[in-house]
Structure formats: C-alpha cells, structure tokens
C-alpha cells in the first residue's frame, strides 16, 4: 500500500519534470557546442560508449547530488563513524577528498548487532586466525581453499538456521546471482516478488527461465499468478513447467517490511512449488534467538526449500550462504560456479562469522547475544515510534531494524542528507532508480551498538532537519501522559 499526500505527488512530478527539462536543455546546448568544436581525429570510426540516452540520468540528475552518495569513511562502521570530508570545484561533477574527517552518528550501516567494530570475543579470535591462516586462501573452494574453518562455519550455519547442510560463498550478491541459474534453467518458471533485490533479478535473468512477478507481499496475488501460469504452462508449447520456484525476501531492505511468510508458504505447498527465502537483512537481526524471519513468524525451516543469507549485515563480515537439504548442497558443490571458480571466503572473515554466531547462540559463555538481540529490538521499536510521533512517514513493520523515512521530492534528498551531515549524523538516502520515481526515501538502520543517548541525539537532529526540509507529512501526535508500557517480549 503506497500512501502519499496528493499535493506532494503533484509537486514531486512537477520537480522531476523540471529537472528532466533542464537536463534535456543542457544536453541540447552541449550537442550544439560540441558540433561547433570539431571532434578529434583519433575517435573517428569508434562506436560511442553509451547508446542513445542511457547515461542521461547519471549525468544530469545523479551527478548534481553526487556528494550525498558514495561518501568515503575512515573508521569501522560502529555506532559513531568517521566520514571523510569532500569538496568540489565544479558543482559536484568531480569530488576531491580532504584529509579531514568528521565523527558522525552512524544511522546508515547494516550493523544490526554491533559486530562491525572490535568485539571483545570476536576480534582476538579473528586476529589469531589471521596469524594462523593468513588473509587469503589463494585458491578456489574446490581446489585448496576449504580450510577446517570453512567446514566448521558451514556446520555452524546449518545448525543456526535449522537446515541439514549449508554452503558458503565469498560475496553475498554473487550467492544469489550464481545459485539461481544453477537451480533452474530453461523450461522452468521463477515467480519473484516485485520488490526483490537486484541480485535476485540478475540471477533470474541469467538462468534462462521464464520470470513472472507478483505484487509485493500479496499472497492472494501470488496464488492468482500461480494458478494462471500452471494452467497455461510454458509459452507457446503449453507443456507443463519443469520446475517452479517462488523467491521472496525476509526483510525488504527498501521498505523495512517483513515478508508474509506463513501465507506464502501455505500457497506454495498447495501448488507444490519450491520456495527460496533470501534472509540477507533478517538473519541474526529478528527472532527471539536471532534465527531470522522463520523464527519470528513461526514457520518451520523445513517448509522453506532453500534459505539464503549474507554475513554482511548482522555478523560484521562478508560473504553469503545457502542452507538446504544435504542433496541440494552436495549438488551445488559440484555445479555452482561460485564454488568451483571463485576464491573462497577469507579465513579471518570466516572466523568472524563463527565467533559472531557463537556469541548470538550464547556458546561463548556469556549472554551478550541475548542482550544484543533484546537491545536491537528495543532500539528499533523506540526509534520508529518516536519518529512516527513526530509526524514523519516511516515505513516498515515493528521489530524491523530498517526504517525508511519518506522524502518524495527530489530536492529534499540532498537537503536532508547534507543538513544531517552538517549536524554530524550520517544517513543514507535512496532515490530513483533503486526506488520508484516518486518514492525517494532516507533509510535508517538501527544497530544494537546505539545507546539510548545516541538515538535521542539522532531523533533531535532528524526532527530539526525534518522541519527544515518539510517532510513531516503526517499530523504530529499530541504528547500524552506516558505510562511506560513495557512490551513483554514473547
């Protein structure tokens, strides 16, 4: 459900129209000026790098606010982060780094459990493994790149997620885009949620299977699409599909919404299709013991055929994993190109994940894992409810650590981002084409490393900047007498 004030929709469309018109005008004059200046002789006969207008958006819209994106950082992405200052002499076309840094409150990193900075249990183990195994295995998994750390990690991940076996890869994006073509090919059907991540879209396109889309988080529409596709069969021959896979995500990173997993699994079981759950943002961050969206929504992991996740978000490392039955994992080990040809995960990164999972499970001998999980839930609910009380339009379900604040107008994106940076709060703003054109947003990621004072400072700054930028689209709730109702966490 997309809900926006009508006047804002009109002004946003008008602003984009104006930006587009000015961009086209500047392109027109650039073409005239370049036609007068004769082209250099060396490039005669070469094809142009960009076909038609496909770089228009980058040149005329993205480059104008380039300083809001790709900000270099100079420290670990903890609750507070050092952002490198940059300046530009030609109106943001090129940016130059200075050697100054500003310490800012970090509301943009996926540091859900606070493992991104040095941790008292993980870091000594990581340094030991760095000394013992060095920083790279210098080999692919299938040749000489499987250390005992890798096998230990795979067993641990399988146990943590609740599946019989698991396999890990060096990069999270590649996990999706290299696995999906191996699981399904021509003659198969992939039905994916309309707001799935680019890695899934890439994997689906590379597989050669037919791809259909169902309305975001809408199990009844999924059922309609399934019934239509199963009845029609493959295009032109109308033979039955060889395989049908439904791909959904646990938490959608641009909306902060949880997937309606029980209903979707029920629909998939009814029509006997396979399910693929991408838990990149939910593993380790939601659920009573951090086991992800299956635990939170009460779904048996045995009902989901393939569970995918990444180690980048909650575990403070890099890489991705797939957890499934032993037969599937064995099959993947001898077909997946990311296992056969890509370098294996770096051993210190593997050790970081092993230590982080041990902390979450409480196997390191303390209850820091349970504390972190409770803290992130508390932090997310507090921050979200405060923002909503101030009148911001915040998306996402409660308990989800990702909260997008809607901006809508294109001019508010750099305004919000730059003003927050000036007040020492680092936020991430997202615009077209990662989100639909009208729905630009600032995405806040809460971490267990944020203390209550940090959150209150963040709220003050965001409230002030929100007033300046005019993004409090909903009516402000009047302050009522707060009888502190502590929600009993089931």
């Amino acid at each position: 459900m997309v809900r926006l004030p009508y006047l804002t929709a009109l002004t946003t469309l008008f602003s984009y129209g104006l930006l587009f018109a000015f961009g086209q005008l500047r392109d027109f004059f650039r073409k005239i000026i370049d036609w007068f200046k004769s082209s250099s002789k060396d490039l005669k006969g070469y094809a142009p790098i960009c076909l038609g207008l496909e770089d228009f958006y980058t040149r005329r819209l993205y480059l104008r606010i380039q300083d809001c994106f790709s900000r270099p950082i100079a420290s670990a992405p903890d609750a507070w982060i050092d952002v490198v200052e940059r300046y530009s002499n030609d109106n943001n076309k090129t940016l130059h780094r200075t050697s100054n840094t500003t310490k800012c409150l970090n509301l943009g990193s996926y540091n859900y459990l606070g493992f991104a900075a040095a941790d008292e249990y993980c870091t000594p183990h990581v340094i030991d493994s760095l000394k013992k195994y060095s920083c790279s295995t210098c080999s692919v998994r299938v040749d000489g790149g499987t250390t005992d750390l890798h096998t230990e990690l795979e067993e641990l991940v399988a146990r943590f997620v609740g599946k019989p076996a698991a396999i890990t890869f060096g990069m999270g994006y590649v996990t999706n885009s290299a696995i999906i073509p191996v699981l399904i090919g021509k003659g198969g059907l992939i039905i994916s949620d309309s707001l799935n991540h680019n890695s899934i879209v890439n994997g689906a396109r590379g597989s050669g299977a037919a791809v259909r889309v169902f309305q975001h988080n809408n199990p009844s529409h999924l059922e309609d699409v399934l019934r239509e596709q199963i009845a029609e069969g493959q295009p032109r021959t109308h033979r039955p599909w060889k395989k049908i896979i439904v791909i959904v995500e646990g938490i959608y990173s641009m909306e902060g919404e949880l997937c309606q997993l029980p209903e979707i699994i029920a629909v998939c079981k009814k029509y006997k299709v396979y399910t693929y759950l991408d838990e990149a943002h939910s593993i380790g961050a939601v659920g009573k013991t951090g086991r992800g969206v299956c635990e939170l929504l009460g779904v048996d992991p045995a009902d989901v055929d393939i569970m995918m996740g990444t180690f980048t978000k909650s575990f403070g490392s890099c890489g991705g994993y797939i957890a499934a039955s032993k037969e599937i994992i064995q099959y993947l080990k001898y077909t997946c190109p990311a296992y056969l040809y890509a370098t294996s995960m770096s051993p210190p990164a593997v050790q970081q994940v092993i230590s982080a999972i041990k902390v979450i499970l409480g196997e390191d001998g303390s209850n820091r894992g349970a504390q972190k999980l409770a803290r992130i839930r508390e932090n997310s609910n507090f921050f979200r409810s405060e923002l909503q009380k101030m009148g911001f339009e915040v998306l996402g379900d409660s308990d989800s650590p990702v909260m997008p604040i809607m901006l809508y107008n294109p001019a508010k994106i750099p305004a919000f981002s730059r003003e927050c940076l000036r007040q020492n709060v680092a936020v991430v703003t997202v615009a077209f084409p990662a989100t639909p054109l009208l729905l630009a947003r600032a995405r806040i990621c809460i971490s267990a490393a944020h203390s209550r004072e940090d959150l209150i400072k963040g709220l003050e700054v965001i409230s002030k900047v929100g007033d300046l930028a005019g993004i409090k689209y909903f009516p402000v709730e009047p302050p009522k007498h707060e009888t502190q109702s502590h929600k009993k966490l089931e």
Partner: protein, 155 residues
C-alpha cells in the same frame, strides 16, 4: 484544510521508465502544466489568448512527439538495454493497448486542438499548423501503429 492523501497499491510495472505514470496525480499535473504554460506564454509574449493556446498546442506537439514517439530506450542503464528499440509510448504498460492512461493521453491533444482552434476563430495560419500537429500526434497513438516504423525512419 485537512491533508488529502492518495492511496494505491504499488503498480506492477517492471519498467522504471514508464512506471511513474501509473501513480496518482499524473493526470492532474499534466493538465495543470498545460494551463500554467498557457499563462506563462500569455505573460511572456503578451499575445492574444488564441495565439497563446496555439503556441501551447504546438509546443506540446513538439515535446510529446519527441519524447513519447521519437526517443527510444530508457534514460538509465540498469535494464541492460532491453527496451532499446521501443519508444516511450510503446513501452507504456508493457505494450498493452487501449488502457485508461493511453486513452487519456490520446484525448489531451484533441482537446487542446479544439480549444486552440476555437479561441483563434479558425483563422488561417494557426488552424493549419494546429491541424497538422494533432493529426501527426493522433496517428502516432493508434494501436495499429505499435512498433511500426514508416519508411524505416527511426528504426
């Protein structure tokens, strides 16, 4: 005044170039931009209202013909060029013809033509130019012209 909110289900168009047209408020802003540009032309050139409507009609013809029916592809590279042979009109709503949005966009040039020719009292040079503008635009929007390239122009 209480704030008016518009609420829709998110449109399912995968093509980010045309998806924005399915959101609420597009028709309103389109008409409002035309009205605003008429006022702008009147204040800048100080001509008769009929001449202003003719100018708006011709300018609207030039802009919409160029961007809807001439330029092909999308202004960003993320879709890997799968729409590189289709104009914006052909990409709209995945090529489905005679939808509500297409009908709206077909009616607007006709209404503009009627207003322009009425306010100029059907006098000669303006009537001729207005008629050519509306004829070309309407022919380009016929469902039978989907993916048709006359004489291979713009192929």
């Amino acid at each position: 005044m209480a704030k008016l909110y518009a609420q829709t289900a998110p449109p399912m168009d995968m093509n980010k170039n045309t998806e924005w047209f399915l959101y609420p408020g597009v028709w309103t802003i389109y008409v409002l931009i035309l009205l605003l540009s008429w006022l702008l032309v009147l204040s800048v050139f100080g001509c008769t209202p009929g001449m202003a409507w003719t100018l708006v009609n011709l300018f609207h013809f030039a802009v919409t013909y160029y961007f809807f029916h001439w330029k092909k592809g999308t202004p960003f590279a993320e879709d890997q060029g799968i729409y590189n042979n289709l104009t914006w009109w052909e990409q709209m709503e995945n090529g489905k013809q005679l939808t509500r949005n297409r009908k709206f966009l077909t009616v607007v040039p006709v209404v503009l033509y009627l207003i322009a020719s009425h306010t100029t009292d059907y006098q000669h040079p303006m009537l001729f130019l207005n008629t050519i503008a509306v004829a070309i635009l309407e022919v380009a929007k016929f469902p039978n012209m989907h993916k048709v390239r006359i004489f291979g122009i713009n192929g």
